[in-house]
Subunit: 240 residues, 2 copies
DNA sequence: GCAATAGTGATTGTATACGATTTCGTACTC
DNA sequence: GAGTACGAAATCGTATACAATCACTATTGC
């Protein structure tokens, strides 16, 4: 997880180093949303000059992790509800596809691992450990989509997850009750894969799983956002 | 079309200028696949220094238009059949979603315009004008997906089209006979939108339309590529 | 004649320096 | 007292310069 098309830029590169460092700080929350990223400051912290840092920031901008304004500077992208909506919707689509494409390549060992992870998630619910739950959730889905044979799609999925991570959109944070349903849906998803369900069915299930999380979020959110959301129906959820 | 998340980088920026210039040259074929992009040379041509050029190239790399190798340089991405497969598959997914999301927002005027474009495409078939056909094809699909209310998805669609443009994957070029089927499918798509078909049906149709082009390409391609493609089934096509 | 190797040229990677733009604080005016 | 104009500090944008790396070729040894 979390390696995004590094093509051609080996680890030794300062640019790459800056990219990884800043990204890590955003994802782990050291730089929280709204944080002002000053090139010179970051450059000094990392012991490199501003040029590679600038390149790193621009790259993070392309991934949506930071917002860049000319002659003003970069800030870490915030928890704009609309952005959350866009991201979840996009992820629903690409992750659904990735999971469907992965399904035929998922072996018994993968399934077993996913089940173990899901069991741990259940435990987290009892001991209320949101942080671990979120990390395990990522692990679970990784098993489902990591075998996706199309690297472009896989990359899009990774980007979506990174974006969510930067938004700190833990399921617990937004909708406490949702987590319980989530683990149940995980088990259902596994059974579909296990029994060799059609790619179409798996894709729908994966989409619904994410859409449900989004819907739960929207349900407990101010009316204004819901109104905006009405213009952006999530595909495959409200069908039938 | 063809504006890809320029966020924060106003037109006046040399970096932006370099990006647009190089991109244009790639898309219009001045720099054809395999062309070696030397920073210093491009910088001189554009009358700017190498730093903005470098930034532009890196951005194009992120979009998949060029391939970058450390300490070696950048080359325009080539017509690697596998890359073509990946791109078409991804586009099939995001364009399908974008079209489905757009559908409810497409008005009668849009439909009429699309019909006019499709009629022109028919003419191109008779007079054999592949270049114009390809451009019109893009216009046609733009009508279908440009109303997509989710900018992230729309951006992914644009990227896919740009990538195809750089690959010069004109339908004519790859599979002459395919173009005739294509215009027929266009009409069918329009009718679905017109009659308010479900988002699911529209999405499937849009995916199939693209998958068919991909399949046609694969059908006339060496066995080795087909074998590789077998590992990468296109979703929603073989389901029937 | 072939292979390994050292040297050379070309190209990228990064640092430093300076100009351009914006922002924010302050003083001044109405 | 509020609003505006001005100025200074901060920050970004780009040019230039140099160091690091790699590809290619010629040479040498076998």
């Amino acid at each position: 997880m979390t390696e995004t098309a590094t093509a051609g830029t080996r680890a030794g590169s300062k640019s790459e180093q800056a990219y990884a460092a800043v990204k890590a700080r955003i994802v782990d929350g050291t730089y929280s949303p709204g944080y002002r990223l000053v090139l010179a400051k970051i450059a000094e912290d990392l012991g490199v000059s501003v040029v590679p840092v600038r390149e790193a920031i621009r790259r993070l901008e392309a991934e949506g992790l930071v917002k860049f304004e000319r002659n003003v500077g970069a800030t870490v992208s915030g928890i704009d509800p609309t952005e959350y909506l866009y991201t979840m919707q996009t992820l629903s689509i690409v992750e659904g596809a990735a999971t469907a494409l992965s399904a035929p390549l998922i072996g018994e060992a993968d399934i077993a691992r996913a089940r173990a992870v899901n069991a741990e998630m259940r435990e987290c619910l009892e001991h209320f450990d949101p942080v671990r739950f979120t990390r395990l959730n990522q692990d679970f889905h990784s098993v489902l989509f990591e075998h996706c044979p199309n690297p472009h799609i896989l990359d899009l999925v990774h980007r979506g997850w990174n974006r969510l991570a930067s938004l700190r959109s833990s399921t617990f944070r937004f909708v406490p009750g949702r987590a319980h349903d989530s683990v149940a849906e995980h088990e259902a998803l596994l059974r579909l894969v296990e029994t060799g369900a059609s790619a179409d069915d798996i894709e729908k299930a994966a989409r619904l799983h994410r859409s449900a999380t989004l819907d739960a979020y929207l349900a407990q959110t101010p009316a204004a956002v819901q109104a905006a959301a009405a213009d952006h129906p999530t595909p495959q959820t409200s069908q039938q």
